[in-house]
Symmetry: C2
Amino acid sequence: MIKIGILGYGNLGRGVESAVTNSNDMELAGVFTRRDPETVKVQTDVPVFKIDDIYNMKEDIDVLILCGGSANDLPVQTVEFAKYFNVIDSFDTHAKIPEHFEKVNNSCLEGGNIGIISVGWDPGLFSLNRLYAQSILPNGHDYTFWGKGVSQGHSDAIRRIEGVQDARQYTIPVESSLAAVRAGENPELTTRQKHTRECFVVAKEGADLAKIEEEIVTMPNYFDEYDTTVNFISQEELDANHAGIPHGGVVLRSGVTGLENENKHIIEYKLTLDSNPQFTSSVLVAYARAAYRLSKEGAVGCKTVFDIAPGLLHPESPEYQRKNLL
Amino acid sequence: MIKIGILGYGNLGRGVESAVTNSNDMELAGVFTRRDPETVKVQTDVPVFKIDDIYNMKEDIDVLILCGGSANDLPVQTVEFAKYFNVIDSFDTHAKIPEHFEKVNNSCLEGGNIGIISVGWDPGLFSLNRLYAQSILPNGHDYTFWGKGVSQGHSDAIRRIEGVQDARQYTIPVESSLAAVRAGENPELTTRQKHTRECFVVAKEGADLAKIEEEIVTMPNYFDEYDTTVNFISQEELDANHAGIPHGGVVLRSGVTGLENENKHIIEYKLTLDSNPQFTSSVLVAYARAAYRLSKEGAVGCKTVFDIAPGLLHPESPEYQRKNLL
């Protein structure tokens, strides 16, 4: 059994807890938290420890999955704990990945551990599909559409507007643009032509609805370059119909082959997810299996999804995989 | 530059010729054929050699791509030439993959070479997607739909019927079944519910059309379990509208996560290909790059797509990939 530690217990940590519980070859070693462990309500019988206790549990944890945020937690935590454990994180600040990679790599080399960073679906599975598709169709165009799904950042931005009590924002791909890409038309798409934004807003009593709507649709960076729809609803309706965290998206490559570029091909990878954090956690857990296996082979250093042979992710043996999945 | 040899010059060999020509880091060392080289008309200035000349060209070829058929050519050729070269093949007789793997592995170990077998889109990219998706969503159902595309085997079967001059058969997924899978309904689908078969047939003069149609739709294994449409057309129409070799398909996994299996997720991978052999060749060429790199690192033995880290397929460096694709 592969022993998994969870560092940080938000939506992602809860998702890892259930994904490990649903994996036959893994067990939970513990949840580690900066909060008072007594106040953390877990979903299973996994023990909860204070974060500092982790240094005494090196023998009890094969892989530590870091479930904090990319802005403040992971740049510190992954770099620190890769000195002591094999680690997996979902670091998703694209521009800072090379820097994060270098730091985690140094920690891994110092401790003799494996680290796999930027695991999830984007970065992660979407990145993999961009890479596979570019490798196969070097002559082509890449497209990524996100949604339909909840953007936490955009929802938070609406909540900061005066008079807003609660809000939920959905990012939605423009179907006609997606259809043009699928048809091999290689359109050049503006921001507005790729996605629309749909907002469900609960206003405080007596708030100026027209003013709220105007502030949303003109908000720089977040909304001004998009066609945005604002729907005012009650808190009850928001809680009843918009409590989930669905997401997903599509990565496409439209390319040509032949000496005269005479044949078109479309490679499409699409995710439709009821729960963004639970799916991301499931990807993290699969890569924890790969980290464990690589570590057993004596490998050390920082890796990304690009470095991991796919067979390492699957619970069954290479023989089984060749016989049943190839 | 990676020097590529092509063994066998049919549709697949021609596809490899154009894919290598379109790759900046590769060049063609030669086409090797069992035919008289004088009779082989290539599309580029690649030299054509008799197959036996290959044993004298070990220094001129980094990776040999085997472009023969799975029934008779590859079981002999891959096993033979893996003793002398790094090899790639598209062996697609699913039931015999474990046996083929063992034999090629022995040859690779004998010669100190890398072999990557069963490369293409199915087996190949579809296999990869089944494996990734099962690894991430262990609790779920797999679905594979093929088409719309030309089945050479079914077209040949129609051509063998008395009174048939020429024929082309398309395999087409049943859209309503595909829609049910995408909706997360996890349907159990019979053969008839998954695909329909559409036939375009050129009859010889005076042939009994009703008899031909009856023979097609009742043909065991090939057509009797499907809803089949037969269209009689002229040779001119067949040549004008059905000369291409399009294909494609969809691999889906519909799975659930959460301790109560409360969240559904759909992972979908779809290929829409103008030319089945050109696309397959493009996959072979990307894996030739990986074989070359692995060989330079000193690796030996038989591999499949499951064993190959994705980053090895892409022409750019790991640093470039992390910065631009992750």
